[in-house]
Amino acid sequence: MGFLYSTLKYLAVTLWSVFVIAPFLWAISTSFKDFQSVTNGATYIPWVDFEPTLEGWRALWKSPAQGGVAIVEPFFNSVFVTAAGSAISILLGTLAAYALSRFTFKAGPIRNGDITFFFISQRIMPPVVLAIPFFIMLGKFSLLDTLVGLILVYIVLLMPIAVWIMVDFFNKVPREIDETALIDGCNPYQAFYKVVLPNSIPGIVVAGMFCMIFGWTDFFFSFILTFTEVQLLPVAIVALNSSITPWWSLSAAALVSVAPLVVVAFIVERFLSKGNLSGALK
């Protein structure tokens, strides 16, 4: 029974691994192919089935005039917009979450839980509902087709995630830690940044990771709110899909677009696997 269970378990894990890894292998393999290798039937193993070439990768930093796809600028635009939007969202969201976790707000029938829900309810709405108001507002402030305009939109979209995650995290941080810091001579601001914040790093990392994933993978708003001046990576990749799709460049671009998230996942993994609060309150 134990052997059968173990076998089934490993079989399931293996199948799942293949399911997850196969697209990456397919993309890596395709990124080293050329037109002939892609169109002349299924080929898998480099140097056996096809002769690998770096043409797909070289095209990434060539301009369209040189026959390239030019994703370098969209890549760095995406990095800048995602990083700035996530950082500001985490900063504001963490402060808002701390207030919602530690202080009681009353306005008529509205309480802290309602305010938290108000934040997250903005993520419940379909993006298309928000698109028109964003379009009109950014247009009024001449921020359409600008990086600043996109950052502002991303803050609106990402901050609810940060608030939602951080409220839950702060609720799990014992209030007695804040109280002890006050008794030990910290004013409320010092108690927050000297004691509560250092112990909230796992929560901030998780919230930051979610913000970055949502920001980095957004296609809809970057497509609607930009035209010619500014282009983000998801839009640039989709733009590659022309009458003859360059699958080799498309695969290379897709791998480039996934790479930052993989790097982030490896960096934050250690924060996710263990919290820093053990020992605060035993």
Partner: protein
Amino acid sequence: MSLIASNLCLKPDTEYHLNDVCFEMSKGEIYTIIGRTLAGKTTLLKTIAGLIAPESGSLILDGTDFGRIPVWKREVAMVYQQFINYPHLSVYENVAFPLKQRRMPKVEIRNRVMRALSQVGLDGFENRKIQALSGGQQQRVALARSLVKEANIVLLDEPLVNLDYKLREQLREEFRNIFSAKASENSILIYSSTDPVEAMQLGGQILVMDEGRILQQASAKEVYENPNSTKVSQITNDPAMNLFEGAVADGKVILSSEIHFDLPQHCQALPQGSYNFGLRAAAISLSDGGFPFTVELSEISGSETFLHLKHEHVQVVGLLDSVQNFNIGETVSAQFDTAHLYAFATDGRLKSSPYGGPK
């Protein structure tokens, strides 16, 4: 230095958390606040610390209005029942934290931290992370952090309650030594506990709390000998003092049709009438010629046996100095040591005690 509380009240919902609390505390004394869970002990400590603002009343420290001073400027230290430390800091940094807040010179900080760690028996643990310590060691770190400040008021909120029995016994002894030395210096030490044994062992002054109200403030000896009400007698004894409804008539104490005995010498002045009589568990023993009781439960605790007995409506708990086995439903003969009988009025006030009565 003295801390005077006058008419402190806090009623955030339908019940009082602090109800007209008044006390006066002096430097160099240990004060133990004893009360059941939700009696208001932690609320009172947090009020003194400045973490909770009372709705009315005042706290005066050495003639200055303590209530107007924000918590971070109050020069108080507090140890919680949970082992609260800063998990991102080492043991040394934890203890040094309040001193760094005061911007003390590094050499002075080092000297004080090392002295405090030595006081609580944590020499050599300076560089350990908090997570690498046992529960008892974590609580020692919290205690060291409270000692290192040399605060005017040290608040200890049931600091031993979350430790296992052996460690609690060990730390209780160490705490008493540390506190005695500390209290003789410049601090008012306030210790809260639900454990009467702990309160009595620490000595000093005892404040008995219930439902946000201070029922009695006196020395540990006085509270033990002359609890001023049935509630105090219940809170300050473990097991709680046995209480029986009864009457004094014709020179006798009558508890039931079969349980009656001569009025003891110290109760002779009691007029006839109804009373609540009290007898500690240790004043009940098993021997021939006593009252017949049925065994309801027998609990062995260490080297002692708690025996729950019943006769008609009279229920008592006796404490036997040895480990004995009894069958539930067995009939035993129980003797009452009436020389240690307490008499309370029907409203709960102490009327007569073997130690001289209410003072």
